[in-house]
Amino acid sequence: MKRHLISAADLTRDDALLVLDTAEELARATEGSMKKLPTLRGRTVVNLFFEDSTRTRISFEAAAKRLSADVINFSAKGSSVSKGESLKDTALTLEAMGADGVVIRHGASGAPHRLANWVKGSVVNAGDGTHEHPTQALLDAFTMRRRLGDLEGRKVTIVGDILHSRVARSNVLLLNTLGAEVTVVAPPTLLPVAIDTWPAEVSYDLDAVLPKSDVVMMLRVQHERMNASYFPTVREYSRRYGLDAERMARMADHAIVMHPGPMNRGVEIAAEVADSVRSTIVEQVANGVSARMAVLYLLLGGSEPAIGKEVSQS
């Protein structure tokens, strides 16, 4: 594996399968309890969050702690960053602290690439602007595998604001690497102009795609897109691209519904869909910790095997 995880494209098929298999082992080893593994004892992981995202930060923090790493949370709010300190100066500070891994969430696409030039430790992209969110794609693939088995040839439909979605970008890349067939569904305004260069089918018609999908992944749609005329009204968006119970009924029996969260219930996804047995939304949260544990373990190269002697709960 490469030293950093910045894009889902950094992962070869073998890398991706190794992460997923490792996540599975780690999940089993820690399942049902808050057991800790000693794997990353003595290592320091910095959570560098320039954007508020409590759920992602907590997920990475739990992953690092379950591997016994020391975790430093560095949030831009109330720190020197909000006073205009540059990303580079922040990076140099992290260097001085001896961070072995830096988990970065940033509003600017490419910020993790820049950071990787300035720090020696491994950089893990926890979401950069409208670019990528590779660990989300890994946890999604992990969730799909647990529900459906091998992803080769599986039909995955991603619905919503593809243009601005880092989740969509990483998922398209990773799912393609894993042999799944991806279709993106959105109003044309919310697709990149060069969408034809992506390894994905494109459709504007959710109803046509639903019956042949094994996975339907709904993306959060933001209200401010309406103000910029990407679509006329939330109501119209919801009618054309939202997943309600009636639409869900047309899905194959085995098919699942995913959402990276946070959801807009009643907009892109109806409450009865989110809470249905097809929904993996709660599992995705738990699986996020396992997938991130696997990434941190593989990148930071713990001196001990991933599944070693368990240490007591702290």
Binding site: A111, R114, R169
Partner: protein, 429 residues
Amino acid sequence: MSTAYVIKGARILGGDPADIVVRDGVIAEIGANVNTEGAEVVEAEGLIALPGLVDLHTHLREPGREDAETVESGTRAAAMGGYTAVHAMANTDPVADSAGVVEQVWRLGREAGYCDVQPVGAVTAGLKGERLAELGAMADSAAGVRVFSDDGHCVSDAVIMRRALEYVKAFDGVVAQHAQEPRLTEGAQMNEGEMSAALGMRGWPAVAEEAIIARDVLLAQHVGSRLHVCHVSTAGSVEIIRWAKSKGCRVTAEVTPHHLLLNDGLAASYDPIYKVNPPLRTADDVTALRHALADGTIDVVATDHAPHPVEAKETEWAVAAMGMIGLETALSVVHEAMVETGLLDWAGVAERMSLAPARIGRLSGQGRPLEAGSPANITLYDPSPRRAVDPAAMASKSRNTPYAGLELPGRVVATFLRGRATVLEGKLQ
């Protein structure tokens, strides 16, 4: 008395070796084995002699951003690049929208003495696009402004643009448009296409440039005015300008060296050294621009030299400043993109980097052919060495070159401004 020079054995416009005698600021004689008595001899065997280069588009940053560049440092860079005249863009602080500011810049240029500094006047007061600046006062000032531009901003209001085009006819001026439809480029970061889709950056569509150029050539045609299009960057813009010229529109256009060599694939590094306005486009656009420059659809190469301090570029892409320095590498880049590819000969380079820009800017003493009686504005260029570009060695105060480490051909050996050497043996004088 100024030093007399005999430039021995230079290949004028890449032709056969000849001696050039420079005396009292003019070219006194061109011939073979001329008398060198009383003159300093400059051995120029193997060097190409070009008329001193003229840049239509330079940001000297003074007044206001002297941390990035000053008239002095920028004109030193210009001389090192073979330039004898630069047009200083108006987006300074204060904006060059009055006779007072353009005269200040013009005087600073004269005091520095490395090359002629011809100020460009703002089209609208404060570059705000709302009402015309005092164009006539700037034209009548000591600076004698003939080129007007809100560069950095587009004159997007069609009525203001029409009025500006009409108004400057009174003093043979030209409006140089930075063609960028503002609504289509809000928050735009890079060329909109395959790369922006993959990199998750807000796209800067080609149509935002092309729509303004299409509108402006129609306006210029309608009112019978001269229009100059800054930094053309797309194949579609080339097609529109080609069409307009075929209809007799008095439009001229420029392309930057970086748009002739670099493409948007470089943005994959997220290194904002490649962030520029207009953005780097696709490889197909680069090809179209080269051919347009070769066939005359695009008239000139202009650097859009845009210095920025280190901290403005050592950031995330989205917050980084747009622009690249280019004065000291322009000739080498044109050599690489146009001469090495067989698209232009050295006479063609001289036309596009000296004669045509001087004509468009109405600079009478610049861009003259190398012949007896012309002002002795001469650039000597050694085409043979290839060198890796070293930002630390540059005369510009800023280091934001996209070519750092890249191997480019050629080197400016000497620059003469009205018979005075500003650069000799590759060193500032």
